[in-house]
């Protein structure tokens, strides 16, 4: 099955995340904090693509990677 146009693949590097939750503030339907206060991706389709990229741009430790789910192109960093 092909990913729908505009869809993204989002990942959080758990070795880097410090649980700042800036991403949860920007895109609460995409990111959640787990019991260890680490950000995880709950739903990569939970916000518009530019909102998700903005969340990645505003991670203070650059733990978030965003790829175009169709082309695999890196949207951030």
């Amino acid at each position: 099955m092909r990913a729908p146009k505009g869809a993204v693949t989002v990942s959080v590097d758990q070795a880097v995340c410090v649980g700042n939750a800036a991403c949860v503030g920007t895109a609460p339907d995409v990111f959640v904090l787990d019991d260890n206060r680490q950000a995880t991706v709950a739903n990569p389709d939970g916000a518009a693509r530019d909102v998700i990229v903005e969340a990645a741009e505003n991670c203070p430790v650059s733990a978030i990677t965003v790829l175009d789910a169709v082309t695999g192109e890196t949207l951030y960093p």
Binding site: V16, C17, V18, G19, N20, R37, E57, P60
Partner: protein
């Protein structure tokens, strides 16, 4: 059980908070200090919990505190103390929601990593200029030649302070900070004089900015005033608050970080082998290992339990970053300075709703300083093993850090 004394202003505590608060962390992690009438919270998990429950732990210290000030100030200075308190009470970090939310809102975007990243080149150039100025000398004082000028120049530029006024603004900031970190009896008077000057100065500058708008932090304040979000008194106070916050703490990051490198030569040698690649994790480790602020305070807003102790409304709480960052329950080999440590979830920027607004700016400044020091002066070494700390509370502030590199 080890008996821990309660004199938080003793020289040995101020010079080595890790040892003193580390002992408390292991013996009595939520400790009632009867002399200072404050709870001392020292474990990582507990500090983290305090930070995430502003409904129990208020930041409105100036508004709520009714006990006499400690250590005492000169008699006759009660009125200036009240003036300073009223001024501080309008700062973002001295407030709880909803006021805190309102005051912080205009700065969320300008201080986002995305926008702060645009300042990297400016920071890089300032560091480079400062190092150019001392290179031929073969030595410098890291505090005076790098730590003091860099953050002030950057935050002045972000605010929109004219270049010619930087010295004036620096003097005001240094005097104003006395009220927060000094233990001297004349601290409130000195701070009050600087605050009066600063208020007049920024009132005038904000007036100019309102007449001819510019895209800087004073412009943000002017916009917030127009939107009815800020009063003029609040913008005058917070312009100075931003200046102070962006100034004092970054000096310590640069000084204490450089000292940590010099005292752990293997880590400096590792760092100089590829500074760019290691700059991010190394700066985080400097922040963790010897944090710019080692302890801050809250005041209990509603009765609560912490680790079996009952905290009552109005109690003071000191939350100790120095011990939380060295808690073996949270970090492997916590007393080892390891510039590749990852993850590094230190609490040096606090957490929760008050999480340091300038944290990304501080990170960039640290990264640029350490990278350029390592690339230009890989042979950097201490000129003396005897370093001295200023007698201040909450910050471990080196009086000087003489180094050489030839």
């Amino acid at each position: 059980m080890l008996r821990v004394h309660d004199d938080l202003y003793r020289d040995d505590v101020l010079a080595d908070p890790f040892r003193y608060y580390g002992a408390l962390r292991e013996t009595d992690p939520v400790h009632w200090n009867a002399d200072f009438k404050t709870w001392v919270v020292t474990r990582y998990d507990d500090v983290s919990w305090v930070l995430r429950h502003p409904e129990f732990f208020s930041s409105a210290f100036y508004a709520r505190e009714e006990r006499p000030i400690t250590p005492p100030i000169d008699s006759g200075d009660e009125a200036v103390h009240e003036y300073v308190s009223a001024f501080r009470a309008t700062e973002i970090i001295q407030n709880d929601p909803p006021t805190h939310t309102r005051l912080r809102a205009p700065f969320r975007h300008p201080f986002s990593p995305k926008l702060i990243r645009e300042w990297r080149q400016v920071i890089r150039n300032v560091v480079s200029d400062l190092l150019d100025a001392v290179e031929a000398r073969g030595k410098m004082d890291v505090i005076e030649d790098l730590g003091r000028p860099l953050p002030l120049r950057v935050i002045s530029e972000m605010l929109g302070v004219p270049t010619g006024d930087r010295e004036l603004v620096k003097k005001q900031a240094e005097e104003r900070m006395q009220s927060a970190i000094s233990l001297a009896p004349d601290r409130m008077r000195r701070a009050a004089d600087a605050i009066r000057e600063g208020c007049e100065y920024f009132d005038r500058l904000l007036g100019e900015r309102a007449a001819s708008p510019r895209d800087d932090l004073l412009g943000v304040l002017v916009k917030a005033e127009r939107a009815g979000c800020y009063t003029r008194a609040e913008s005058v106070s917070n312009a100075q608050g931003l200046l102070d916050a962006g100034h004092e703490t970054t000096i310590q990051l640069i000084g204490n970080g450089t000292l940590a490198f010099m005292r752990n030569r293997d880590q400096w040698d590792l760092f100089t082998s590829s500074p760019e690649a290691l700059a991010v994790t190394a700066t985080e480790e400097c922040l963790r290992y010897d944090p710019p602020l080692f302890a801050l305070r809250r005041i209990v807003a509603a009765d609560c339990e912490l680790r079996g102790k009952h905290l009552s409304e109005g109690d003071r709480v000191l939350w100790v970053i120095a011990s939380a960052n060295r808690d073996p329950r949270a970090f492997d080999d916590p007393d080892v300075f390891d510039i590749r440590r990852q993850p590094n979830r230190h609490l040096s920027f606090g957490g929760g709703i008050h999480y340091c607004l300038g944290q990304y700016l501080a990170r960039l400044e640290g990264q640029e300083v350490f990278t350029q020091l390592a690339s230009r002066f890989p042979k950097l070494r201490l000129e003396t093993e005897e370093v001295e700390y200023a007698h201040l509370r909450g910050v471990r502030s080196l009086k000087a850090l003489p180094v050489s590199w030839n």
